[in-house]
């Protein structure tokens, strides 16, 4: 009983912080989502409007487009980061000259603020001054203009995200690989397993928890990305890179449509949870012998 009380006592600061900074704002957003509230409307006060905001977003093509673009962005960015991160982690398991320097340089993007990443990429991508359009034109005759080419803008945002976040994946997977016991690998080699078989039947299952944790973290990050994209493309051209985080920002701040913006935020949170749950059910639960 006494230790129970001590446990709760120790947990209290965390619970208070979580409550004040996590739960209460969420409840407030949920409350606002059921109201019409535009600070610059003829009536700038909150008016209860039931589920109208949620009904509205089902028919809002901008929102639906934004969700679709965001999932595409999340899929391509996270899959690429996991694959690339795994190979880089394996590469860093070996000894080679300059390994320490490479590891440091490779980790540098992680410490750069997203807004700075966006600025730097914008400078590199701007036609006439950007280094990348310059060389693409000089070497391949390809005129890259992410201000007018929607496909190119999408690809560039994915590449920027990969550049920024692959080091995180590499470090996480490297830690997981380093911690693997040697016995199963030696046993497999004695049994005559080839590299692919070792990877598929031993390495992958053993680092699966680390991969999944990384996927969840990166997916949630990718779904709410704002600053880098805002700086690089502003969501354009058109709405090609108006990912959901940026869409919410535009609805809530410049447009000051607080009620509708809150409804979108709630739905996006819900969709993220559903996506993570589906990943869990599809990838983790079967391995644990559970189906839910």
């Amino acid at each position: 009983m006494g230790s129970n009380r001590t446990g709760w006592l120790l947990l209290t600061p965390t619970l208070v912080i979580l409550g004040v900074f996590g739960i209460l704002p969420f409840i407030y957003v949920l409350w606002v989502a059921f109201h019409q509230w535009n600070a610059f409307g003829a009536n700038p006060y909150m008016i209860y409007n039931g589920a109208d905001n949620f009904r509205r977003l089902v028919f809002d093509t901008e929102f639906l487009e934004s969700i679709w673009f965001t999932f595409q962005f999340g899929f391509f960015a996270v899959v690429s980061e996991i694959v690339l991160g795994y190979f880089l982690a394996q590469f860093l398991m070996r000894d080679f000259p300059g390994k320490a320097v490479f590891r440091t340089l490779h980790t540098l993007p992680l410490i750069v603020a997203p807004i700075v990443v966006g600025s730097v990429w914008r400078l590199m991508m701007t036609p006439s001054i950007g280094i990348i359009p310059y060389f693409l034109d000089a070497w391949f005759g390809y005129q890259l203009n992410i201000g007018s080419n929607a496909g190119a803008a999408f690809v560039v945002t994915v590449i920027m995200d990969i550049w920024h976040w692959t080091p995180l994946v590499t470090l996480t997977l490297l830690a997981a690989i380093v911690a693997l016991p040697k016995d199963p690998f030696e046993q497999a080699q004695i049994d005559g397993a080839n590299r692919w078989q070792i990877f598929w039947h031993i390495t992958l299952p053993m680092i699966r928890p680390a991969i999944l944790a990384t996927v969840f973290i990166r997916l949630m990050d990718a779904l709410r990305t704002v600053d880098e994209i805002w700086m690089l493309t502003g969501g354009g051209p058109g709405s090609a890179t108006r990912y959901i985080g940026l869409h919410i920002w535009k609805v809530v701040f410049p447009k000051t449509d607080y009620g509708y913006g809150s409804a979108i935020s709630v739905i996006v949170l819900y969709l993220t949870l559903v996506l993570c749950w589906l990943l869990y059910v599809g990838l983790v639960a079967p391995r644990n012998g559970r189906r839910t």
């Binding site: 409307g41 700038p44 502003g234 051209p237 410049p254």
Partner: protein
């Protein structure tokens, strides 16, 4: 008058001046003494005039009053984001905020701002001797409430001008080539047809001669409202489409069928004209806001363009930033028939008169100290240095200052144009729903820019979406 008497008069005047000057100087130290330890916080867009406040006027004020001033200069979007959040949540972080002319109606509708005139009447001890509201140009009227009181001290005002490269326009070889190609003399355009012809000529000329030169600038970012602003504020009015095509007298109608003009034939012609210019502008135009347009022009990549006046000074005079120093001329934007007459009669306008004021949020915790600072930046005595450092004039006393006149010559007569022709330009329409309609229209506008929808269809959609939004907001009944 004999010599002795004359010398006596001079000595008397000098004595009087000497005794008066410390009294004026003392006002700031006396007034500031009451606010010892106070730090004022302001937020503004990072523009040359704002940077002058931060770098020159704020330190001067601090030295004279002892009141510390911290000015945060940031991007246009962030500035609004921060100011509105602060006033909406009543956190009182900011004592001064930048009020762009187009947002003032929304702020006044929400009672976000302190009545500067009334506050100084209520407490005359705060009234600075060198501050006089009547010295402001007519641009200050945009910041007056219905009662005529001032709710912001104008700190920048400029027109979006037609800037052209004098060196190119006056080059005999180019003039000859232009004449041979078009049969016309090369001169700043007065009509849209002439402007297009000049733009096409220079784009071709650049290509033929292997130069990084295009015929025009275009503020055509495909994901930033700057592009929509260029169209509604600087291009559509020159075709006779005013107030964004929204008719406030007809229940805020935007569609032609309800009495608006957002999707009128004139609006459609204006958009097609501008889209063509965008197509022959430098490739970076698709990612250009007002800042990048100025950079493009300063890099010598465009022969002509519509450029915000706030950038004119550094483009024309700062050799560290600009390749076209002393090579620029200014002119009025090209217009359709009847538009100039509309502008002269006050019925319409030919372009955008932009600018802003420093205002005092009602949520400020240092209202009186902030009032002092607002008066400090509004005094006649600080205006000329400010106008030379950044091309803005908000005070009538500034025009005749020798330093300003000298700068005017380098700017190709920009200040003279501001003084004499400023009345032909207008600020944003007095809509309290400025940002809301902009956001609704901009997302459709970006689709027009990327070719996802045609200009006619896009303008129809914009007009309908505007009416829908205004109905949702409760302005359209």
């Amino acid at each position: 008058m004999n010599m002795r008497l004359r010398m006596g008069m001079v000595a008397l005047v000098a004595g009087l001046m000497a005794s008066t000057a410390p009294a004026f100087a003392d006002f700031w130290s006396d007034a500031g003494a009451k606010f010892k330890g106070v730090t004022l916080h302001g937020v503004t867009e990072s523009t040359p005039p704002s940077n002058y406040i931060k770098d020159v006027l704020a330190p001067e004020f601090e030295e004279k009053t002892g009141i510390k001033v911290e000015i945060e200069t940031t991007s246009w979007d962030q500035m609004y984001d921060k100011a509105i959040k602060d006033m909406e949540a009543k956190t009182g972080i900011y004592d001064m905020i930048y009020i762009e002319q187009d947002i003032v109606y929304a702020y006044l509708a929400r009672n976000f701002l302190v009545d500067v005139t009334q506050s100084l009447k209520d407490d005359p001890s705060l009234k600075a001797p060198g501050f006089d509201e009547s010295h402001f140009t007519t641009f200050a009227n945009y910041f007056r409430g219905e009662n005529g009181d001032l709710f912001g001290v104008p700190m920048e005002a400029f027109i979006k001008i037609y800037l052209y490269r004098k060196d190119l326009f006056e080059d005999p070889k180019i003039q000859e080539a232009f004449k041979a190609k078009t049969g016309k003399d090369l001169a700043p355009a007065k009509t849209h047809e002439d402007y297009t012809q000049i733009a096409e000529f220079f784009t071709e000329y650049g290509k033929e001669n292997g130069l990084d030169l295009w015929g025009t600038t275009a503020q055509a970012h495909t994901g930033h409202p700057a592009s929509w602003y260029e169209y509604v504020e600087s291009v559509a009015p020159t075709f006779g489409v005013y107030n964004w095509g929204i008719n406030a007298e007809k229940n805020y109608a935007a569609t032609v069928e309800n009495g608006g003009s957002m999707n009128s034939d004139e609006a459609k012609a204006a958009l097609k004209y501008w889209l063509h210019l965008r197509d022959i502008a430098p490739p970076e135009s698709a990612a250009s806001t007002w800042t990048e347009v100025a950079s493009t022009f300063a890099a010598g990549r465009a022969a002509q363009g519509l450029v915000y006046g706030e950038n004119a000074a550094w483009i024309a005079s700062d050799a560290e930033k600009s390749k076209v120093v002393d090579k620029v001329g200014v002119a009025l934007p090209p217009v359709s028939d009847g538009v100039m007459a509309d502008a002269e009669s006050g019925k319409g306008y030919i372009g955008y008169y932009d600018g802003g004021a420093f205002g005092l949020p009602v949520t400020s915790k240092n209202r009186d100290a902030a009032l002092l600072f607002l008066q400090y930046i509004g005094q006649d005595s600080v205006q000329s240095g400010w106008a030379v450092a950044a091309p803005r004039i908000t005070n009538t006393a500034t025009y005749d200052d020798p330093a300003v006149k000298e700068m005017d010559a380098r700017l190709g007569g920009y200040y003279t144009m501001l003084k004499d022709e400023g009345k032909l330009f207008a600020g944003a329409p007095p809509f309290p729903f400025h940002a809301q309609v902009r956001e609704v229209c901009a997302s459709i506008f970006y689709k027009i820019l990327t070719g996802q929808i045609g200009p006619d269809e896009g303008l129809d959609q914009m007009a309908q979406a505007t009416e829908k939004e205004l109905t949702n907001l409760g302005y359209r009944k």
